[in-house]
């Protein structure tokens, strides 16, 4: 049941990211909206639930993006591993750390993209535009990332309450 909510949220975010945001100039260099979802699931949800979603959306994103196949799967997988490792010694769910968690996640995603580009593209040069893109995305992540995490948290709590109520009525 839980997967339905995550799949719905993920699909909604992809559609917004690929159809609505390109029409709004201010969001021209917004970060990947699935990054906060992956981070939220990695921090707050069970491993099994998270890995299923990572596989589904990594696969979907790889198929609609122009990058090499497996790039988004790689990004989400390493984000998940890094967060799971970080929560062993850091309380990343802390409201003070949340903006930085999303920002670091976005930075990591961009570094993997640039790394992959460097791997497949000869004579890749780091241009000012590339640096600007990364900086703008990280800044967006610092200021908006925590809101996404709070929104996901709120949706999951509502969903849990709703499903519990339905199952209680049935039994």
């Amino acid at each position: 049941m839980k997967h339905f909510l995550n799949i719905f949220i993920g699909l909604f975010l992809i559609v917004i990211q690929t159809t609505v945001m390109p029409h709004i100039p201010i969001f021209e260099r917004f970060y990947d909206l699935l990054t906060p979802l992956v981070l939220y699931l990695s921090i707050f949800r069970p491993v099994r639930e998270t890995t299923v979603i990572i596989f589904i959306f990594g696969f979907l994103m790889d198929n609609i993006s122009g990058g090499p196949f497996g790039l988004y799967l790689t990004v989400y997988f390493w984000l998940f591993l890094s967060v799971r490792w970080a929560i062993t010694f850091l309380h990343v769910g802390d409201s003070f750390l949340l903006p930085f968690v999303v920002a670091v996640g976005v930075l990591m995603e961009n570094l993997i993209f640039i790394g992959a580009d460097a791997m497949f593209e000869q004579n890749l040069q780091i241009s000012q535009i590339m640096i600007n893109t990364v900086v703008v995305q990280v800044l967006w992540a610092i200021f908006t990332g925590p809101f996404f995490l709070m929104l996901f948290n709120y949706s999951h709590r509502r969903w849990d309450r709703w499903t519990k109520k339905i199952f209680a009525q049935k039994s």
């Binding site: 559609v15 690929t18 609505v20 696969f59 791997m119 241009s127």
Partner: protein
């Protein structure tokens, strides 16, 4: 024998190595969709289509009914007329030049009369690092990998992946795109490549050619993908380094890729690349 930390470090390094190898293996940028990939696109594309149509519908209502109805309509018509005139102008100039050089082998008529299929852009690439769009026409509409995608103002890109009802177009501003091109006036040849800034780089143009800012760059047709004579852009910067045999030429594309909504897929080009099985 080994500490837990050591095992973990070795494990992470091994995973990274496996990941890089897998990425290299699966780097199927030019490999057509396999079945699960087609399903994935078929899952997401209808939502994108519905969302794009809704946005266009709302925007059209805003522009045409709430905001200067007549002016907007007149503007649309004028823009379309201007696009057509622009395309005609470039085409006539090409024909004139080729006639003057008595190159009878050039079959412009055939090139320009290739059948085309109109398609709507339903989604853009989720990443700012890659420049692709999804269109609402696929294999069942006759679209094949390798077909050229054009708009009235020039070349937009090339079909790189096809599913039943949708296709992915690699735009010419993507760093992985390459178009064989020539300068319209002096016929100097080179390869047009995309760059991260959304401009075009005209590569491998010999130093001896005298190219100036404002020159128009058109497709040469020699790559077997794009019809000859379609406009790519205008030279915006020329730099001749002291060493080397090539000059560095930057081209500003005529097509506004931020506002790409409808495109034409050129069907029945000589040899569209067959999808791999």
């Amino acid at each position: 024998m080994f500490s837990k930390k050591m095992v973990m470090i070795v494990g992470v390094i091994a995973m990274m190595a496996v990941n890089i190898i897998l990425l290299s293996v699966f780097n199927r940028r030019y490999i057509s969709y396999y079945r699960p990939g087609r399903i994935a696109v078929s899952v997401i594309a209808p939502f994108q289509k519905a969302s794009s149509k809704s946005i266009r519908f709302l925007r059209d209502i805003w522009y045409h009914y709430f905001f200067l109805v007549h002016v907007a309509e007149e503007n649309d018509t004028l823009k379309k007329t201007l696009d057509k005139s622009f395309e005609k102008n470039i085409r006539y100039k090409e024909i004139q030049l080729s006639n003057s050089r008595l190159r009878s082998l050039l079959d412009f008529k055939k090139t320009m009369t290739d059948p085309v299929l109109s398609a709507e852009v339903i989604g853009t690439d989720p990443s700012p690092w890659f420049k692709t769009v999804l269109i609402d026409k696929g294999k069942e509409d006759g679209v094949r990998r390798g077909m050229a995608v054009v708009v009235p103002k020039g070349i937009a890109g090339q079909i790189t992946e096809v599913s039943s009802h949708y296709s992915k177009v690699l735009l010419i501003i993507d760093p992985n795109s390459a178009v064989d091109a020539l300068v319209q006036n002096d016929r100097s040849r080179g390869i047009i490549k995309g760059d991260a800034a959304g401009a075009l780089i005209f590569k491998y143009v010999l130093r001896k050619h005298d190219i100036s800012v404002g020159d128009i760059v058109v497709s040469s047709g020699l790559d077997g993908v794009f019809p000859k004579g379609l406009v790519l852009g205008q030279v915006s910067d020329v730099f001749k380094p002291k060493a080397g045999i090539f000059q560095e030429v930057t081209v500003r594309p005529y097509v506004d890729f931020e506002k790409l909504e409808e495109v034409l897929v050129v069907l029945n080009r000589k040899k569209p690349i067959e999808p791999s099985k």
